[in-house]
Amino acid sequence: MIELIASGLVLASMYGLVAVGISLTWSSVGMLNLAQGFVFTFGGYVAFLFAQYMAKNFSIRDGVLLSLGVVLLGMIGSAIAGLIVGGLAFLPLHDRVNFPVRGLIATLAISIMGTQIFMLIFGPQSKPLPQIFGIKRLKIGEFSIAYGQVGTIVVATVVLLIVTLWMRRSRRGLQMRAMMMNPLGANMVGVSVRTTGMIALAISGALAGLASVLLGQIFFVSPTSGVQPLIVGLIISLAGGLGSMPGTVLAAVLLGFAEAVTARYTEQSFVPFVQFALVIAILTFKPRGLGGVLEDVRE
């Protein structure tokens, strides 16, 4: 039972990180970022290169410092990838006609090209990341949970809390929420759509990078490893109500548990069916998603 809860929460944390990023980008920049999978993988490879470099030159293969470095570089790498996506798809297009569709196509193009470039550089084999939380297991009575799972849940929760607080309390966070509500009005109080948009892309990139490193504990990094998180992240951010942090997190928990339960009692191949059925059910009864903040805001 505890194992089921743990794996459900692990999936929820990972999906939550990616989905909150997609949701943040959509609501502040107004662009559905299909290149989020590319951003995700980019951070994974940066973390892998760092681990490889440390192992080769300093023979450091584990330890707290290496783990910290892997996490930080994964996040920084993905934040940079987010800025690249912004530079290619957002800055040149955002004040042109029909930006949502153009942005969608541009990010799709980046996503496809990115996968091919990764393939070219790193080859199709998966690359392992170091086990950042160690390989021991935490014992609770007769059950045991891997440290990796506990670490993933804790880190993801803490980071999402920090982002939520930052959005609520800081000046930049206020600007970003203002931009979600009314981009024109935000412009008039001095919020630069371009700067704030790039910040939003970098933050959602960093979240994806964290998810990438955490997922790298279970599945290795490969050129296409961003596809699954992108798809699930997209449907979660839809089900959560694009733009709503609490709604997105709730949807991530629901879909994470749906996957954990399905995979345990039936087969892994049923997982997408159950997930999509769940999302369709949510959107049938709550067309604006669970959070539904965009009720009368951005149309």
């Binding site: 206020l174 600007q175 412009n187």
Partner: protein
């Protein structure tokens, strides 16, 4: 402003305007619908389709010739010290009144003193006091306008542009709003209020400029002076 023209696409709305606003001055801009009041305000903050001529603000060129990039410089111009309360209201409906006001305090200095600034604005618009935690989308029209104007006043600006504060409001409420606007102590900041309703402004501003078909008529105050206020209602 010297020889400023502006418009949208192939349309020229403003025709070669020349005028100056002095520090501490309160100016009324009067004119009928569609004669360019809003366009003039949009021009100052760079939100028209194109513009030409020179707009100087505190020794800095903020206008100049431009034919693309609508609104791209607006944040920079706003941060250089021009606060704007747009026509209708461009408030943020999902944020609380408090957050709406705080978003006006964009500059570093204004952000740090946002509590004092907010209290000063609550003095001017007391009805907002009980609404601080309420989301701005649920307010009445008059209260929304107060939030919109209040947000502009939160800024640490040298020039406040207020576009049609009375639009769509009941006469009694709009009189109260304009009264409040004219009572605020701006220090050395100047204010430009665009308005269709001349009697609302006359006697309350330092200077009243008339606007007709995209051209300025200086000091039209007396020309309209003999129109009884009732006719305007």
């Amino acid at each position: 402003m010297r020889e400023v023209s502006s418009g949208y696409g192939t349309m020229r709305v403003i025709h070669g305007l020349n005028f100056t606003i002095d520090p501490g001055e309160r100016i009324g801009l009067v004119g009928l619908n569609g004669h360019g009041k809003t366009t003039l305000i949009s021009t100052i903050v760079g939100m028209t389709g194109w513009q030409d001529g020179s707009i100087e603000f505190m020794g800095q060129q903020i206008g100049g010739r431009r034919s693309h990039g609508v609104g791209r410089n607006t944040p920079k111009i706003v941060r250089s010290g021009i606060a704007i309360a747009p026509q209708g209201d461009a408030i943020f409906p999902g944020l609380t009144v408090e957050e709406n006001l705080a978003s006006g305090a964009y500059t570093e200095g204004a952000w740090k003193t946002r509590k004092q600034r907010r209290d000063a604005i609550l003095e001017v618009f007391p009805p907002l006091r009980t609404r601080l935690k309420q989301s701005a989308g649920t307010l009445s029209g008059g209260e929304r306008r107060m939030v919109s104007v209040g947000r502009a006043l939160m800024a640490d600006a040298k020039l406040y542009l207020v576009d049609e504060p009375s639009l769509g409001l009941a006469p009694k409420i709009s009189i109260g709003l304009v009264d409040a606007l004219c009572k605020i102590d701006l220090g050395d900041g100047a204010m430009l209020i665009a308005e269709q309703n001349l009697p609302l402004l006359s006697g309350r501003c330092d200077r009243i400029l008339g606007m007709h078909a995209g051209e300025l008529k200086e000091d039209v105050g007396e020309a309209f002076g003999d129109i009884p206020p009732a006719a305007e209602m």
